[in-house]
Amino acid sequence: MKNILSLSNVNYSYHTKEGETVALQDVNLNIEEGSFVAIVGPSGCGKSTLLSLVSGLAKPDKGEIYVKNKPLSQSEVRIGYMLQRDNLFEWRTVYKNVLLGLETRKELTQKKKQLVNNLLEAYGLGNFKNAKPSQLSGGMRQRAALIRTLALEPDILLLDEPFSALDYQTRLEVGDDIYKIIKEQGKTAILVTHDIAEAIAMAQKVIILTSRPGTIRDIIDINVTTLEERTPFTTRCAPEFSSYFNKIWKELSNE
């Protein structure tokens, strides 16, 4: 498959009065179109920074980011970024929240509204269009945040610990839902997570970062045998699951 995203020798540091923090050092990475990739690594190793660079919110100090073989700044590929917290605006209804991105980009057409309505119906929020975010459960809020991102029809989806605010049960459910949504739409997705099991369950590839300054320590392909179609749930039941878990856990802990 074609690479949709490649990073070559990407470096990034933060500067404050107290000093310099090298967050990422010589990161090289290729991501195939339509694949689901997870990034794991110790806290503070630069995972969120990596997503900020890919989304274009920050520019690498050194190195290049290519999207479909064009420099990121000139690319027309659309990148959606779902942040850790849902960041729904309390003064807007769910429907208005979901339209926020389209509104800001001045792309609010009748067709897009239809798309958003379909997404809301499909993912169980149809009856909550006019509710305020505070009336939604944690899982529903996270789904609303995902629909807000999907409404922009991104080709690449960046997910920064999207489930970390949820309790375990909801986390598994929403994880399953979101996986299906993304697969259905054939998007490329990069998921940052602290949860090794979640990474294996959702991704075809798990990228392990070293502690700060973050570089790529290892990339592990996940191949599991499942009875039915592969979903996070069936993957968790696959026989290979625990050996992947141990492998990644060891790599993360003996640093």
Partner: protein, 262 residues
């Protein structure tokens, strides 16, 4: 409804009625005591006035229409300065928020100006601007504007950085971030600030009228005290009380309205 709930509701009603009754009692006995003391010459009604004298003065001034022009002038100046404070306050806070270096330069000055007893500026403003409504309005504005700017700017700059990041992922510029995020997120602060400001504007207008006016309730108070017409003074103070209650109720209603539509 269960019996206990019914009993509770009944008790609650009873309590509210009692409180209202005592409020009314306090008011009427105060008025009655005042009137009786004046009638029986326990107090000098020339200095302390009396409810009946105030009523008489009020009715007389209603008949010749003069009281209405005083009230209109004071209210007009209050509303005008309030409107200016709202626009100037939000506008200035927006500019400070847009240009961080500017706000860093100006912040200490704003803090000093805000902690200054602003009524001290009034005589100077009147010398500069003359004995007119302009001076009165500027005085009223000077009392509330610095606090307003600081207050609203603090609310603006306290906007959740994660939400700003979200807006930036949509490619939003500063003005978009302001319109869609910062302003609505600060609405509560702005409204509670305005609730305080309407009262401050009235204070400022009265101070201004003390010093430079030919009309208005503040003028009536100063003039009345100079010519020893205490009936005018006390009546004006009572009217000011009523006005400030009405203004407060109005802002309360405006607050509820804004909360409902937003």
């Amino acid at each position: 409804m269960s019996e206990l709930q019914k009993a509770y509701i009944k008790q609650l009603k009873h309590y509210t009625v009692t409180i209202t009754a005592f409020r009314f009692l306090l008011f009427t006995s105060f008025i009655a005591l005042w009137e009786i003391s004046a009638r029986l010459d326990w107090i000098n009604s020339f200095v302390f006035s009396s409810p009946s004298r105030i009523m008489k003065t009020f009715i007389k001034m209603c008949n010749d229409g003069s009281i209405f022009s005083h009230i209109t002038v004071t209210l007009g100046e209050t509303f005008f300065s309030f409107a200016l404070i709202v626009t100037l306050g939000i506008g200035a806070a927006l500019i400070l928020w847009m240009f961080k270096p500017l706000s860093d330069v100006l912040e200490p000055y704003l803090i000093v100006l805000n902690s200054l007893p602003k009524s001290a500026l009034a005589p100077m403003l009147i010398v500069w601007l003359g004995n007119n409504a302009k001076a009165i309005i500027v005085t009223a504005i000077s009392i509330a504007i610095f606090g307003t700017i600081l207050n609203i700017y603090t609310a603006f700059s306290g906007t959740d950085p994660e939400k700003i990041k979200l807006m930036r992922t949509f490619g939003a510029g500063k003005l978009d971030i302001f319109k869609k995020l910062v302003l609505p997120a600060s609405l509560n602060t702005i409204i509670s600030n305005m609730k305080v400001n309407i009262g401050l504007c009235l204070v400022g207008v009265v101070i201004g009228e003390f010093l430079a006016a030919r009309k208005g309730l503040g003028y009536l108070i100063i003039y009345g005290s100079q010519v020893f017409k205490m009936d005018w003074v006390v009546m004006s103070i009572i009217i000011l009380c009523i006005i400030s209650v009405i203004l407060f109720k109005l802002t309360d209603m405006a607050e509820k309205l804004v909360k409902k539509i937003s």
